[in-house]
C-alpha cells in the first residue's frame, strides 16, 4: 500500500483491538459533526410537507428546488430584491479580500524582513490585538464609523475589517521562513523593494494568501455587525443580515421555514467551496503559525 509510510506500517502492526475501536468511534464522531451539515443540504431541498413531517427525517425523499424559487420570488416581490443583498455581499466580500490581502502582505513583509525603529513595539501591539474581539468595543467603533461619515456606505462594511491582526500575524510568520539570502541576492542584482515584493514575496506566500482569504472570507461574509450597527439604509445591508432576518423567530413562522432552509444553505456553500479549494494550503500555512 503506497500511502502507508514505513512509520504507519509499524504503527498499524501495533494496533490493538482498543485502538481499532477508537478509530471506529472517531469515524462515528466525525459523522456526528457532519450530520447537521448533511441535514442543512437535505433541508434546503425538502418540499414544505416534508419539512413538517412527523417524525422528522434527515434525508429528503422528494427533492425539489421550490424553496429556492420561493426565496427568489418572495424576495423579488419585497421592496428590496434578494439580488440587491447578494450584490452588496459580493461587493463587500470582494473588496475586503483584496484590501486585506494587500495590506496584510505588505505589513507582514515589512515586519518580517525590514529593520526599523519601533518594530518590536508594532509587533507587540499585533500580538496583543490577536486576541481582540471586536464585540468588546462595539460602541467606540460605532462612534468612529459615524464620525468618519461613512455610515450607509460600503466603506462602513469594509474598512473595519482591513486591520486584521490575525492576517498580518500569519503573513509575518510565513514570510519569516523565506530565506534572507534570496532577498539579498535579488538586491545585489539591483531589484528594488517593490520588485522584490511583487516578484518574490507574492508568489512565495501563495499558501498564506489562501489562508488569509479563507479566514477573512468567513468573517466578512457572515458578519452582521456592519449591517445592524453601521447601516440604517436597507439597500446597503448584506445577505447575512437578510438571512438572519428570515431565520429570526423561526419557531413561529410556517412559510418562513422553507425560505430559511434555502437561505441557510446559500450562506454555507461559498464558505465550503473556499475551504475545499484551499484546505491543503491552509494546513501548510499553519505549520508556521506558532507564537514564540
Amino acid at each position: 500500500m503506497p500511502w502507508l509510510s514505513q512509520n504507519m506500517i509499524s504503527r498499524l502492526k501495533r494496533i490493538s483491538i482498543s485502538q481499532s475501536l477508537l478509530v471506529i468511534c472517531f469515524t462515528g464522531l466525525a459523522i456526528f459533526m457532519l450530520l447537521p451539515i448533511i441535514f442543512l443540504f437535505n433541508n434546503a431541498f425538502k418540499p414544505l410537507n416534508e419539512l413538517f413531517l412527523f417524525p422528522p427525517t434527515i434525508f429528503v425523499k422528494e427533492p425539489t428546488a421550490s424553496n429556492f424559487e420561493k426565496l427568489f420570488l418572495h424576495a423579488n416581490a419585497a421592496v428590496i430584491p434578494f439580488t440587491r443583498y447578494l450584490f452588496n455581499s459580493i461587493v463587500i466580500v470582494g473588496l475586503s479580500l483584496i484590501f486585506v490581502i494587500i495590506v496584510s502582505t505588505l505589513a507582514g513583509y515589512v515586519i518580517s524582513k525590514h529593520r526599523f525603529p519601533f518594530k518590536t513595539f508594532v509587533m507587540a501591539m499585533i500580538m496583543i490585538s490577536l486576541m481582540f474581539a471586536p464585540e468588546t468595543v462595539a460602541i467606540p467603533r460605532y462612534l468612529i464609523v459615524s464620525n468618519l461619515g461613512i455610515m450607509n456606505t460600503y466603506f462602513a462594511h469594509i474598512l473595519p475589517f482591513i486591520a486584521s491582526p490575525v492576517a498580518v500575524f500569519l503573513m509575518k510568520q510565513f514570510i519569516d521562513q523565506i530565506p534572507d539570502s534570496l532577498l539579498e541576492a535579488a538586491k545585489l542584482d539591483g531589484a528594488g523593494d517593490f520588485y522584490i515584493f511583487i516578484r518574490i514575496i507574492i508568489p512565495l506566500t501563495a499558501p498564506a494568501v489562501a489562508t488569509v482569504s479563507i479566514i477573512t472570507f468567513q468573517v466578512v461574509y457572515l458578519d452582521m455587525e456592519g449591517s445592524t450597527l453601521y447601516t440604517t439604509n436597507e439597500t446597503m445591508k448584506t445577505l447575512a443580515f437578510y438571512v438572519s432576518s428570515l431565520t429570526a423567530n423561526l419557531q413561529n413562522s410556517v412559510a418562513g421555514q422553507s425560505l430559511a432552509a434555502a437561505a441557510a444553505l446559500l450562506m454555507f456553500i461559498p464558505n465550503l467551496i473556499m475551504f475545499l479549494l484551499f484546505q491543503r494550503k491552509m494546513i501548510q500555512t499553519m505549520l508556521h503559525s506558532g507564537v514564540k
Binding site: F54, L106, A107, L143, N271, L272, V291
Partner: protein, 319 residues
C-alpha cells in the same frame, strides 16, 4: 555611521543620540510607507476604540449628550450594585468559558492528534468533517440547532426522547432556564474546531519524527507518554496560537444565546454572558459609559488569561 545633512552632527550627546534616532527613522521611511495602510486601519478600528472604551468607562454617556466624567463610579457599581452581573452574568460566563474554552481546546488537540494518526488519504476528509461546523456560521447554525432543540414534539431531540420513552412530554429546551446553558455549551463545542484546530494540525506535522524513535529508546512506553513528553513540547508555539484563538472564540460566543432563543435577554438570564450584558446596556438601555466599563473589564480579563497562556506555553531558550 551615515549622517544626513538634514540632521547636523553637532551639540551635546543626547541631541546626537536623538538625531541618529531620527536618522534611523528617516532611513526606514519606505518601511513605514509600506506599513502605513495597516497601521492607519489598525489605529482607527482597534487602537483608538480600545482607548475610547477606557475613557468612556469613566463617564456616563447616553449617546446623545456629551459624556460627563464620574471617575471610578462605573467600576464600583459593577462590583457592588449590579445584581444581574453578580448573580447571573459572572457565574454563567465563568462556567461557559471554562467548559467551552478548556473543553474546546482539549477536544481540538485530541481530534487533531487522532486525525494526524490517520493515513494521508483519509486526513483531508476528517479535517473537513471537523472544520465544517465552524464554517457553518451563526446563521446556518441557528437553522439546524433550532430544529433539533425545538420545543414541540416535532423537534428532533424531543421526538427521539419521546420515542424511547425517556421523557413524558416535549421539553422546551431553548426556553427552559434549566437547559439553555447546556444547549449553548453543546452548540459552541460543536463549532469550536476553528483556526486553532487547524493550527494544531499544522503543529503536529512539524514534530520531528526521529524524536519518537529516540523517546522509545529512552523508555517511553505508551502513546500517552509520547504525547506528553514529545508531541506537546515540540508544538508549543502552535499550541499557544491555538490557545489565543480559543480565547477570542470564547469571548465572542455571547451571540449564540440570542441566535438560539431569538431574544436579546435569555429567559431568566439563564444564558446571559458578558457580551449579552454589554449589548444589553449599550443597545437596549443606552448606558454607554457603563457598557464601556464592562467591556474594559472583559478586555483586562482576557488579557490576563492570555498572559497565563504565554507563561504556560513559553518556549524556553534553546528550544
Amino acid at each position: 555611521m551615515l549622517r544626513n545633512k538634514t540632521f547636523p552632527a553637532k551639540g551635546p550627546r543626547f541631541v546626537l543620540r536623538f538625531n541618529s534616532f531620527l536618522q534611523d527613522c528617516w532611513n526606514a521611511r519606505l518601511s513605514y510607507l509600506l506599513l502605513a495602510p495597516f497601521l492607519i486601519a489598525f489605529s482607527c478600528f482597534i487602537l483608538i476604540p480600545v482607548f475610547m472604551s477606557v475613557l468612556l468607562s469613566f463617564t456616563t454617556f447616553n449617546g446623545f449628550e456629551f459624556p460627563t466624567f464620574i471617575g471610578f463610579d462605573n467600576f464600583i457599581n459593577l462590583l457592588t450594585q449590579d445584581f444581574v452581573f453578580m448573580k447571573y452574568t459572572l457565574p454563567n460566563t465563568f462556567k461557559f468559558a471554562l467548559i467551552t474554552g478548556l473543553g474546546g481546546y482539549f477536544l481540538s488537540f485530541v481530534f487533531a492528534w487522532l486525525i494526524h494518526q490517520l493515513p494521508r488519504s483519509l486526513k483531508d476528509y476528517f479535517t473537513l468533517a471537523f472544520y465544517a461546523p465552524s464554517m457553518a456560521g451563526g446563521v446556518a447554525l441557528s437553522v439546524i440547532w433550532i430544529a433539533t432543540f425545538s420545543g414541540d414534539q416535532v423537534g428532533y431531540l424531543n421526538n427521539i426522547l419521546l420515542k424511547y420513552g425517556l421523557i413524558e412530554s416535549p421539553q422546551l429546551w431553548l426556553q427552559d432556564p434549566k437547559y439553555l446553558m447546556i444547549v449553548m455549551i453543546i452548540v459552541t463545542l460543536w463549532t469550536s474546531m476553528g483556526v486553532g484546530f487547524l493550527a494544531m494540525l499544522g503543529g503536529l506535522q512539524t514534530v520531528n519524527t526521529e524524536l519518537y524513535e529516540a523517546g522509545r529508546i529512552d523508555g517511553i512506553k505508551s502513546a500517552l507518554q509520547e504525547v506528553y513528553y514529545i508531541t506537546i513540547p515540540s508544538m508549543k508555539p502552535q499550541m499557544l496560537f491555538s490557545a489565543v484563538m480559543t480565547i477570542v472564540g470564547t469571548l465572542k460566543a455571547g451571540a449564540i444565546s440570542t441566535q438560539l432563543t431569538g431574544l436579546a435577554i435569555t429567559p431568566s438570564y439563564s444564558g446571559h454572558l458578558m457580551t449579552n450584558h454589554i449589548d444589553d446596556y449599550a443597545f437596549i438601555r443606552y448606558e454607554w459609559g457603563y457598557a464601556s466599563a464592562l467591556s474594559v473589564a472583559l478586555l483586562i480579563f482576557s488579557y490576563l488569561v492570555m498572559r497565563f497562556c504565554y507563561r504556560l506555553f513559553a518556549t524556553k531558550e534553546g528550544e
